[in-house]
């Protein structure tokens, strides 16, 4: 009898020891889960400001409504469904069906405004709860259904992750680090202060101050939309830069999208054509070609060449745009009238190696490195792999792919006294100045070369293809260059074109450099004369409209004399 008692007692002790010792950790963890709660403390995402500290993005609270059908009696279902339906605009019948189900939890509506949440609170509906979440809200843009600088800023998704543009590039700085509270909770989920706490504060995200000017951005979006509609074009973009710093002042795409409604937006619109779209720059490239040749000392603005309208290079006959014999002309005339033969002769005078090094120096053989997500870049063939004909076409901007940021930064070298200003969008992260702004700028061509090219580009506006970009009062104090290039499809050039216009103003003390690109314009009458789809008719007027706006907005006056 004693033995049986001992065995039974031993069995009980053994089982107790099993639960107390062997399973201690597992049981302790299960108990912790029941009465201890881990509450994440989200970090507030940093705001984004423009150069004048106009806030471009604001964090706002949105709410989601849920129901717990098992906590709603049958008699109250109709009142609850009616209340939800009237405030949130949801279908009453489907809400009733949800309430009649055996579900423990179901969402009724997601991410609605605080005003609606306040209305729901007043109704005090049983079994209905509200969850608050944070949402990024962006300012309205220039055209209906868009937000300001949508393609540049990008957007943050509902999880708070930047999905494009600046929001994506600066995700780490903007997001911050979430904290948490670990504490005891009672049955009603109230915090019990007597228990032990672990509390780590969140580190909020840093604010960004951009070089962007919201007013100029708005003007650019408006002028671009009007211009693209007038040109019957597929799309277009505008990029404006501060010549001395490389800071981006405006970055506009048309068509664009509504970042506040990104979940209902065609994903194709998320592609940022300024930085993700590669194009052949056409005659805008002549600024780079001739600057390099002048800097090498192999040509001067008044060097006279003979231009019969065609040149044979590498077995190909390459023509000027007008196929005309221009006779003896100088390089200022070449640039003003955008003559391909002149550009090729400058490149040949310089030599292939020097020309290629010039492309490198102007930043056209590597990505621009701008601080916006999604930069596209295709490296050109190495110097030794480029055929003679490709050197020839590259000299006037065909056969080489660039994005707009690369091209604008290259032309800006002329505006910036021969120095390369690294393009960037963010001036400050929190209180830290963007390191790019503190680095010395690379000298690409001499100040004398830049001055000579500036004078040549002034002639483009005064006597050449840039006449439609003349800003009243600045006709003798602005620079420009048109560009048009056919779009290749499957290795064959089509009749569709990219057109562009680049320039800076005032010529001697530039306040901005601007590039306008229009894709596949079909200018009125171009079905009879395709040359009407040229940069001087399509892109230059857009440039002029925006430039006028900046002149007024920034109180720019022409240089005297």
């Amino acid at each position: 009898m004693l033995a049986i008692a001992l065995v039974l007692a031993g069995a009980v002790w053994a089982k107790l020891a099993y639960w107390q010792v062997a399973k201690r950790g597992q049981l302790a963890a299960a108990a912790q889960q029941q009465y201890r709660e881990y509450v994440p403390l989200p970090a507030i995402r940093g705001a984004i400001f423009d150069r004048n500290l106009t806030q471009l993005v604001v964090n706002t609270a949105v709410y989601s409504a849920f129901v717990s059908p098992d906590q709603i009696s049958a008699g109250e279902r109709d009142r609850v469904a009616g209340g939800l339906s009237s405030v949130l605009g949801v279908d009453k019948a489907s809400v009733l069906a949800t309430l009649s189900s055996r579900a423990k939890f179901a969402y009724i509506a997601r991410r609605f405004s605080k005003a609606k949440a306040d209305q729901l609170r007043v109704l005090k509906l049983p079994g209905v709860g509200l969850l608050d979440e944070t949402q990024r809200s962006y300012l309205p843009g220039a055209t209906a259904g868009t937000t300001l600088a949508a393609d540049l800023l990008g957007f943050a998704n509902w999880d708070g992750n930047g999905q494009a543009g600046v929001e994506m590039k600066y995700q780490k700085s903007l997001a911050g680090t979430p904290g948490y509270i670990s504490s005891y909770r009672d049955l009603a989920n109230n915090e019990i202060v007597l228990g032990s706490h672990t509390h780590t504060d969140p580190v909020n995200g840093q604010d960004l101050v951009l070089s962007l000017d919201a007013n100029v951005q708005y003007a650019a979006e408006q002028a671009l939309a009007d211009g693209i509609k007038k040109d019957n074009a597929e799309s277009g973009s505008v990029l404006i830069m501060d010549p001395s710093t490389g800071g981006i002042v405006a970055w506009a795409d048309y068509p664009s999208y509504n970042a506040n409604d990104f979940n209902h937006t065609d994903p194709a619109l998320f592609k940022d054509n300024v930085v993700s779209y590669l194009y052949e720059p056409g005659s805008v490239m002549k600024v780079v070609t001739l600057s390099g040749a002048i800097n090498q000392g192999v040509i001067a603005p008044n060097t006279v060449i003979n231009d019969p309208g065609v040149l044979s290079v590498g077995g190909y006959r390459i023509y000027d745009w007008d196929h005309a014999n221009h006779g003896n002309i100088d390089y200022t005339y070449v640039l003003a009238h955008s003559l391909n033969v002149g550009a090729m002769k400058a490149m040949l005078a310089e030599g292939h190696d020097a020309f290629y090094k010039n492309l490198q120096a102007f930043g056209l053989t590597q990505p621009s490195g701008i601080d916006v997500a999604g930069e596209s870049f295709v490296a050109p063939p190495s110097a030794s792999q480029m055929a003679d004909s490709q050197y020839a076409t590259t000299s006037f901007g065909q056969g080489i792919d660039v994005n707009m940021v690369q091209m604008l930064a290259a032309v800006n070298v002329v505006a910036n006294g021969g120095k390369y200003a690294p393009p960037h969008v963010v001036d400050r992260v929190g209180t830290q100045i963007n390191p790019v702004l503190l680095q010395p700028q690379r000298q690409v061509v001499s100040p004398q070369t830049a001055a000579q090219m500036t004078a040549m580009m002034e002639q483009v506006v005064q006597k050449g293809s840039g006449s439609l970009a003349r800003v009243p009062g600045f006709a003798k104090d602005e620079t420009g260059k048109t560009g048009s290039s056919q779009i290749p499809v499957n290795g064959q050039y089509t009749s569709d074109v990219w057109t562009s216009y680049v320039g800076f103003l005032p010529a001697q003390h530039p306040r901005f450099t601007m590039l306008v690109v229009v894709r596949k314009p079909h200018y009125p009458g171009s079905d009879r004369d395709w040359t009407l789809n040229d940069g001087y008719l399509t892109a230059a007027p857009i440039w002029k409209t925006i430039a006028q706006n900046i002149v007024v907005s920034w109180h720019i006056t022409p240089d005297p004399g």
Partner: protein
């Protein structure tokens, strides 16, 4: 003996009651903290909402819309007259001052008058 026991039990009961009172107070405070935190969250949400409204009011799109509703129009872009170089050389050194062209007799009369009546300037400066 029993007296000491009662005292001990009494002290324990008092301590227990004190502990319970404190615990109840703290629990009540924790409920208040939760309620206030919820209130703070709502106020912050309201603040964000108001900030967005304020920012939107100053957004270029809103400004333009309100301007158009008020019947305002964009100004015609300014025209400029080309400036002329200034003819005066502002950096030229200052030359000798011009000689006094007052006739000699006027200077003599003035000296006599000043001696007799004094100048207004002197009178003004010496007047108390």
């Amino acid at each position: 003996m029993f007296g000491h026991a009662y005292l001990g039990v009494g002290a324990v009961v008092v301590c227990l009651l004190f502990y319970l009172a404190i615990a109840a107070q703290i629990t009540q405070a924790s409920y208040d903290i939760s309620r206030l935190q919820d209130q703070q969250r709502q106020l912050l949400a309201e603040q964000d909402q108001l900030r967005y409204q304020e920012v939107t009011q100053h957004a270029p799109a809103q400004v333009q819309q309100q301007a158009a509703q008020s019947g305002m129009q964009r100004v015609v872009p300014s025209s400029y007259v080309q400036g002329q170089q200034v003819a005066v050389d502002l950096t030229a050194p200052v030359g000798a001052s011009a000689a006094d062209a007052t006739p000699l007799w006027q200077r003599a009369v003035a000296a006599v008058l000043n001696q007799v009546a004094g100048t207004r300037d002197v009178m003004a400066s010496t007047k108390k």
